[in-house]
Every structure is written in C-alpha cells, then in structure tokens.
C-alpha cells in the first residue's frame, strides 16, 4: 500500500489510471452490451451434409450453386436467418406456385436438416445470422415501446393487432398469431417475400425485442367485449351487426305483425 502511495505522483500514474479505467469500462461494456447475432461456427461436416439437403430439396429452383433462377432468388449472402425463417415456417421448400409462399407452420425438412442446410447457405456468403434466445425473449422487451414501433412500421400491412391483411394481386401480410419470437425477428431482419427489410439500423435489436414483446402480448390479451370477431376491424364487426343484428330485428318485426294462432 505504501509503495502504491509513493508512486501516486509518478508522471506515468495518469496514463496507467486512464488505461486501467478504459479496460474496466470496456470489460463492463463487453459483458453488458447486447451480443451480436452469432451462431456457433458450423463444422465442415454440417456444411457438407447441408449441401446434400440443398441439392435434394432446393436446387431445382434455386440452382445447383444457389445462384438463383427465374422466379427463385439467389441465396448467396441471404444469411442463416433467411433460410431458417423460410424453412421453419414451412414456406420453403415451396409446395405450389402462387402469388406467395404460404406459411404452413410445419417444418418439412425437420430440425436437423434445417440446421444443416442453414449452415450450408450461410457458408456461401456473409448474411444475417439466427438470433439467440436472449435477443428474442418477449419477457425482456418493453411492450409499450413495441406498440409504438409496431404502429409506425408494421401496422399498415399486418393490421393493428398483427392479424394480417391483404396486399395486391393475391399477396397478403400474414397473421402473426402463430409466428414464434425467433421467426418475427428473422422476418424483420431479412424481409421475406413482399416484406421490406428492417435492419438493425432501422429498428435496433432492442426495439425488435420490444416489438416481439408487444406482438406476443396482444395475442394473449383477452377481449373485454367478450368476442373479438378475429380482431380484423369493421369487416367482421359490420358483418356481425348486419347479419345477426338485422336478422334479429326483422324477426322481431315479423313476429310483432303476425296474428296469433
């Protein structure tokens, strides 16, 4: 202690102190800052197995080297997140041609093959990786902030409660009820099909987690009125009012005017 006290006024003391505090701050930041989306580096076996899965299931449309064909985009540089999203929601491998690939929420390749083909496509070029569990944990998001962001960025297509809506020529923004937090994150990151990209510079990873928290929260929220009629707004509400309400009124009027037997 006395040695330390003696060197207190040494010319190098300030430099040492600054270096020390920088190191401490840096370490704290490295520990506390949200991690970048990282996946464990894939082994070459995984990639080789993934290539076989790719050739069997995807190459018909996307080309033998994933270079893309007419109507099927190149997969070089789309990243692991895009492949994981398309395959785990059952959109790919595509079952039939149509305005857009519908989500079946049934992974046709199985988790092992999905992981392998994901590593293969990720090995073709750098792209967004699959988010880790912490990045998509709805419990850690701020629902109120998420609602604000959702209303500005997502609501116009996915409806005010995330129930989806129509686009042009048979395309549509899907209902988010069945989308898992990881899928929501991957969709924002990669912009699948008609959806625009909401990269980390547009919506930060924390804000993405806020949006996920809100989408999950609003999905679990009970309807105070008793029936939410699908939460799709005036279409279903108007239908119920006109069909049920009007038929009931007409029934009453007919009964009022009829003579008793």
């Amino acid at each position: 202690m006395t040695a330390l006290a003696a060197r207190r006024r040494h010319p190098m003391a300030t430099v040492v102190l600054v270096l020390l505090s920088l190191t401490v701050v840096g370490l704290i930041y490295a520990l506390a800052a949200p991690g970048k989306a990282t996946a464990a580096p894939a082994s070459s076996d995984e990639v080789a197995a993934g290539k076989q899965v790719f050739l069997a299931n995807c190459a018909t449309c996307h080309g033998l080297d994933a270079e893309g064909r007419r109507n099927a985009p190149s997969l070089i540089g789309v990243g692991a997140a895009a492949v994981d999203f398309q395959v785990s929601t059952g959109r790919m491998p595509l079952q039939a041609t149509g305005p857009q690939a519908p989500a079946s929420h049934e992974n046709k390749l199985g988790t092992d093959k999905t992981r392998q083909v994901t590593s293969y496509v990720a090995s073709l070029g750098p792209g967004p990786s699959i988010p880790d569990a912490d990045q998509v944990d709805p419990a850690k998001g701020n629902e109120a902030k998420g609602a604000d962001l959702f209303r500005t960025n997502c609501e116009m297509c996915h409806n005010f409660n995330g129930k989806g809506g129509a686009l042009t020529r048979g395309k549509y923004a899907p209902n988010l009820d069945k989308a898992t937090p990881t899928e929501i994150y991957e969709a924002m990151l990669t912009g699948p099909q008609s959806m625009p990209v909401f990269g980390d510079s547009t919506i930060s990873p924390e804000n993405k987690r806020d949006i996920i928290a809100w989408v999950r929260g609003v999905n679990e929220e009970p309807s105070p009125g008793g029936f939410n009629l699908g939460s799709i707004g005036p279409v279903s509400e108007g239908l119920a009012a006109w069909v049920i309400g009007l038929v009931a009124l007409i029934g009453c009027a007919v009964w009022l005017g009829a003579k008793a037997s």
Binding site: T152, P196, V197, G199, T202, N207, P222, G226
Partner: protein, 353 residues
Amino acid sequence: MSDGTGTDEMSTSDHPTQQVATVEHDGDAAERFENPGLPEHRSRMADVDPKAARRAERQVAALFGLSVVGTIGTMVAYFAVKFEGISGSNAYLQRVQLSNILLGSGLFLALFCIGIGAVHWAKTLMPDEERIELRHPMRSSDEDRAAAVEILQEGAAESGLGRRPLLRNSLITALALVPLPAVALLRDTGPMPGRALETAPWKAGDKLVRDAGGGPIKAADVQIGTVIHVMPDGLQETGAKLEERAKAAVLVIRLNPDDLGDAAKAGAYDGIVAYSKICTHLGCPVALYEQQTHHLLCPCHQSTFDVTKNCEVVFGPAKRPLPQLAITVDDEGYLVAKNGFKEPIGPSYWERG
C-alpha cells in the same frame, strides 16, 4: 264491433258486378277487380279454448318471471364480480370480460322479456276485433276559409303597411341588416387555412429522422429493401403539432439503383428515395411497400404507386403521383432534404382541382 258491421260497410261495392260495369271508371283498376272486402274473422285459440287462454297466460307470466331472473342476475353479477386484488393486466381484462358478459346478458333478459311478454299478452289475450274508421275530407268548409282570408286582410289593413312607407322601409332595412353579425361571428370561429394546404414542413437541409424510433439515418447503413418512416428533425416527437406531423410524413425506401427510372433518380441518393406518405386521392397514409414489385399500396382504396417510376399511379382512384422529396447527404453522411416538396402534398382541394 262484429263481422256484420264490417260487411255492411263494404256491401255497396261488394256483389253487384253489373252495377260496377255501368259506372264510368276511366281505366280504373276497379273495372277489372272486385273489392274483396274484409277477410273473414278468424278466432284465436285463446278465444275459443279456455285451456289455450290459460296456457298463454302462463307463458306471459313466465316471460315476466324470466325478466325478474335477469334483473336479479344483473344485480348479483354487479356485486359478485370483484376487481380488487387482481394482479396482471390480462387477468384484469378477463375479469372485465366476465363482468361485461354477465351484465349484458342479465340486462338483455330483464328488458327483452318484459317487451316480448307484453306483446305476447296483447296478441293472445287482449280483445281481438276489426274496426273500421271511415276517412273524412280534409278541406275546411267554405265559410271557415272565407273567414280566415278576411282575418288576414283585416290584419294587413290595420297594420298600415301600405299607408306608412317610412315604417315599411325602415323595417325591411332592419331585417336585412340583422344577419350581418352572424357572418362576422361565423368567419371568426376558426383560423382561415391560409397556405396550409400548399405547404409541408420540409425545407432544404432538414435532417431525415426516424419516426417512433428517433435518430438520424446514415445513408451507408440503409440496406437495399429497407423502408423507414421519417419526419423532419424537430417533428419526430409525438408531442409535436399534429397537423404538421400529418403533412410531413415521408417514406424512405432503398432500392437497387438499377431498378430506379430516370424520373425517380433525380431526387434519389444512391438508390435511396423519399416520397410523401400521404395519398393523393384522399390523404390516407400510403405505406404498404411490396419489396419485390416495388409497389406502394394505399390501404384505403387500393391506389397503387410504382416506386421505380417516380411513384406513378398504376392502379386505383388516385390521379397524381406521390410527390418526391429530393434527398442527399450532409458532411457526416446523414440523409437530409435537398429542398422542400416542389408541389403540394396530399389530396386535391378546390384551388388545385
């Protein structure tokens, strides 16, 4: 009143067909159709069968009883469904749902059953008979009409309007001037729009700032396929004046520069374009961007704009393309407006057509 009276009233035109034929009817329906008269009176079950009457009585009483049940149920639901000590908003909303359903069904039973009970009573048990009231002419008698005209003329003569032109003219002047204050008062009920319809709060050098998220946008960070909803710097806070925010809404999209047509390229920066988000049809926010077709769809009336062709209308009721906001970057690489909008944003108004 009985069936007899009814048929007596109608008997004049009821049977003698030859008589009808002799009467002059210029193309009247009565020439071809006989007046069928009133249908025969049909007695109800409750009129002829005392058992049926008692049954109807019991039904009405049961409906009124059901109403009592509904009333009691409403009271019980109101006091029994408690909101204290619930943790979690979802559990609270569930309780609200239960309360609403019970109160609604209870009140429905209470009121609706009184109504249908009363109608059922009237239809089955109250006297059932046909009555006829003849229609009488509406015109007053000639004496009454002449008396009314006389009163009016007498009043006009007594007022002296014809004899005293000074009074008449000054009254007309006073009446003509009375509405004038209303014109001034109505004009001042709100601010005049002025040039508010022609201008939008964007000027050269305004930084493009994310709406909702906040913060300026570095051009280099914007990926292809990205859509960002922006406001001019200073209007991004939700507390800013709403009319200004409504006019300032702009959509920033980055496309592959090769996809952009020449017209769109004029105001673009490296494939990044900015367009007013306000539909030129009726002013809805046009924000449904389809990344693959580069179409912008308005959710209200399906007007569709092609971003690659400077937001030309490709479908729907909109008549003008969305105005482009010319953009560039400042010294630090952040997106800024090159100049304000060159034309009024949003839907048509009288002076613009």
